[in-house]
Amino acid sequence: MSKNIEMKRVFTVFKIDFIKRLKSNLIWVAATVAMLLLYLLLYPTMEELILEKIEAMPDELLSLLGTDSALGITDFTSYFGMIFGVFAIVYSIYASILGSNVLYEEERTGTIEFLNAQEISRTEIYLGKLVNMVLNILIIVTFAYLAIIISGYSIDSTGFSGVDIFKVVGLNLVVFLFFGSIGLFSSTVLNKKIKPSSVTIGVFFGTYLIGYLGNLMEDSFPFLQYVSPIYITNATTILNSSLCGGTEFYNPTGIIVIAVLTFSLLVAGGFAYNRKNIQ
């Protein structure tokens, strides 16, 4: 990668790309925050109904939702744990699409010819796009966190812990960045004819389903669970762990591996982009 990185140029690429995506990103933020608030604020009115429904659900389906039994959902925080399991999937898909598209869109529409002809190195273009991806993921997660905090304290002011929620959301943020980095990396190595988002979403669902299989076959193949990053940062598991004052030991190995992989993918993406034939 180039040694002479000028931050002004990185910022210029970031700024234009950020503005260009602002509208669609705001829609994602507004839609997901609205849905999250709706789910969480309805907890008091739905509490009994949820318990009834959940009692009727098979254990396998409950585990897919991120909880082991209806007994676990006795307060708002546990309910949040279950709901956030679903939203973690949504945010992972968002991060996958965002990471896949930040560079790919320029190639697909041909605007990369304009950008690449300016006095800017490929590393600076890559960094501008990377910063945009990271910031947009941070924004959507921050709004999600604020929505959870607002609904949490307004519903369960005594038992709710914003710090525990911060830990859950923070660890999940690493996973979202991981999927974003797979998307960005894919766009630096794949030919323009192959959409990197299809590859990244494929990786997401592939690992998710393998993780679920591992959950179902916990006795025979427990290691399969760790193939899925979503499983590693399951909200209910974190809330019940020693990390949030629970009884079960929290093993940080999984999240450390994901963080290292994310960093490696981002660095490798930078090198790959410097060697890519832009057609």
């Binding site: 180039s2 002479n4 140029r9 210029t12 234009i16 260009k20 529409t109 041909g110 605007t111 010819e113 304009f114 690449n116 002809a117 300016q118 006095e119 800017i120 190195s121 490929r122 060697r275 034939n277 832009i278 057609q279």
Partner: protein
């Protein structure tokens, strides 16, 4: 120093050949045409020079700088107009020009406004609403804003009306006077004939002829076309003395007579078709 030096450049896209063992130089402060059929390797050469693609072997240099190793330095002194102008759809012309300007070390707002006025372009229009010709004008302005030492143009006049084409070339001649080198790929051989100092003809990924326009003009032959009453039209390239021919023609009863220099297009076509 040469503005462009291409030495044994080879580029394969998998098994498909882009260019093979291509070598030619472009001297400083010239307008050089780069002509050839579709798929001859013009865009591959330009894209390699600008480091959009990497050569399979050989080198491409701009002012002595290697396209692979010194791409950023090259971009600082080179501007490029792509054949297909694609810009951000939701942007206004002014926003795009500001974006391009943000990468330049020095901004010249006055020059930008002059170019907008010269090319009769409304900066407040949305790029998605522009016609192909107007998009091309945006590309030309982006290209000229840089005040580059080397201007590379891929099919610069496609989409422009004849008046605008003339204005565009007038601007290029101004840039040449200021010291710029212009390397343009074109299918419009009349433009090449009128404005270029030299021309490089490429066929099947290799240079088949490098011509100086002055030499071509000197060496051009006269084409004599005439029709006698009741006979078939006759057209041929003059080989002998013009005076002898005109004396001979004066004895005939002609319906029409045309004596003109052979067009350069005619000359180029031979190389295009592989007759030479």
């Amino acid at each position: 120093m040469n503005a462009i030096e291409i030495d044994n450049l080879t580029k394969f896209y998998g098994k498909v050949k882009g260019v093979e063992n291509l070598s030619f130089n472009v001297g400083e402060n010239q307008i050089v045409g780069f002509v050839g059929k579709n798929g001859a390797g013009k865009s591959t050469t330009i894209r390699t020079l600008l480091n959009f693609i990497f050569p399979t072997s050989g080198t491409a240099k701009i002012f002595g700088m290697d396209s692979k190793k010194e791409s950023k330095k090259i971009k600082a002194i080179t501007s490029y107009l792509p054949g297909e102008v694609n810009y951000y759809e939701n942007m206004k012309v002014r926003d795009l020009l500001n974006y391009a300007e943000a990468f330049l070390p020095d901004k010249d707002k006055k020059y930008k406004e002059e170019l907008l006025e010269y090319f009769e372009l409304d900066p407040n229009r949305n790029i998605s609403d522009l016609s192909l010709g107007n998009r091309k004008k945006v590309g030309i302005i982006v290209c000229l804003l840089k005040k580059a030492k080397l201007i590379i143009l891929d099919e610069p006049t496609s989409g422009l009306d004849p008046l605008m084409q003339k204005k565009f070339f007038h601007k290029l001649l101004e840039e040449k006077k200021k010291g710029a080198t212009i390397f343009l790929s074109s299918h419009n051989l009349t433009d090449v004939e009128q404005y270029c100092d030299r021309v490089e003809i490429i066929r099947d990924g290799a240079i088949v002829k490098s011509l100086s326009m002055k030499n071509i003009q000197k060496e051009r032959k006269l084409r004599i076309s005439y029709k006698e009453k009741g006979k078939k039209p006759i057209s041929y390239l003059l080989k002998g003395d013009i005076n002898t021919v005109t004396k001979e023609l004066a004895t005939k009863e002609l319906e029409y007579l045309e004596i003109k220099y052979q067009s350069i297009e005619e000359e180029f076509e031979k190389y295009y078709k592989g007759e030479k």
